[in-house]
Symmetry: C2
Subunit: 235 residues, 2 copies
């Protein structure tokens, strides 16, 4: 039996750093999309990356709807406008002006939109890891989204996840069957730039939390891991 | 305004390939953990990668519970044993022997276990992207899991997501407050190897689906995207 870890030589420092760079420079894109088309070979690589996400019981519950039609995009943009008008009423009074000033989607500008769905019935009769936690298929689909997002970053493409949407209206518009849930509506395309910080941070919506304060040992709020926290604070 | 995409020169071919390699060679580890410890600087980098996941409304709803205590791990392993005994009763008769033969967690062997939670109340009073889809905070937390998983792969560490668990029992054991949901229970450590294929594929639980059959155009089952599908089939 192999007892030495495979770490050394598998990913060298440059390869490891590239993965971290994709993670740290990934942004949720709203306003920086360019009209240049996304070549099919690039889109094929991104979808393949999504398809290689982990899935509970190797269920692969996802489907990918590729949306390029301007009329279709305009319909979905209208759903987002309506949902924004509903959501803003629930935002604290003193933050409504800021909310209204934010650009929250790039549906029409992005050359490609993707709806990634979850087929809740794909593993019927063979639960593995889902009997107690049936939401695991939805979570697997989210892993596919994040794979695609990081692969897009490495290809120089931006992606934005639009969640201000009435799911039932979206389901009807895309003709999804009852057992299929739209997990993510995504805008994809080349971008003029990737900002240094998340837009909601730079525009003052919320601050980056201190990571060391989100770590505990052995249980919720359990003390300990002081060396780990000190390392994080000093990074 | 910048109108040229940033793609060229941002990630060169080697950097891009490193990201894809992490995505394609990531495995859900159950039986390959080695006892060597995970150094704090490595764990700090992995948690920082998770903390830089996208989150709805920049809510950062996650917390990280680091579990190293053998007694605590044994308690959670016992929860998994009980849950397996419950789940297997719902598996089709002709697959129960295969189910029973699978190693489905490495809780005791992995030097570090992590519970990644979602604080459902962290953005109260300021919904952004969650009024219509309140589950978006759970999905953000899953993005943090996937960031950590890919960073671990690039560090040569394996990770396994254990979902055969009664969530209420886990909540009680880890003393989570009512408004906090355990999204992922993870086993982390160096490994003897990363298998070429997912274990549930090589052991015959399920087959890899054909990606081109999961793609449609403009709507569910909408025809089109023939060039894209042909590229994927020929890859």
């Amino acid at each position: 039996m192999q007892t030495e870890p495979v770490s050394a030589g598998d990913f060298d420092a440059a390869a490891r750093d590239a993965v971290y760079r994709a993670i740290f420079t990934r942004r949720d894109i709203r306003g920086q999309f360019l009209p240049c088309p996304v070549p099919d070979p690039v889109l094929a690589r991104l979808l393949t990356a999504a398809h290689h996400a982990p899935s509970v019981g190797f269920m692969q519950p996802w489907n990918f709807i590729v949306i390029r039609d301007a009329g279709r995009k305009a319909q979905i943009r209208d759903l987002v406008r309506q949902a924004r008008a509903e959501e803003v009423r629930h935002v604290a009074d003193d933050r409504q002006a800021l909310y209204r000033s934010l650009k929250l989607d790039g549906i029409v500008e992005a050359p490609v939109n993707l709806c990634i769905t979850c087929d809740r019935s794909r593993a019927e009769g063979s639960p593995l890891g889902r009997w107690h936690n049936p939401e695991m298929d939805l979570y697997s689909t989210v892993c596919a989204v994040q794979n695609l997002w990081l692969a897009a970053r490495a290809e120089g493409l931006g992606l934005g996840w639009v969640s201000i949407l009435d799911k039932d209206a979206l389901k009807a518009l895309l003709a999804l069957p009852a057992h299929v849930t739209p997990v993510a509506y995504l805008c994809l395309g080349y971008v003029s730039d990737f900002a240094d910080r998340p837009e909601l941070e730079s525009k003052g919506w919320r601050k980056r939390l201190a990571l060391d304060e989100l770590i505990s040992a052995e249980s919720w709020a359990g003390g300990g891991e002081d060396a780990l926290k000190a390392l994080i604070r000093s990074a």
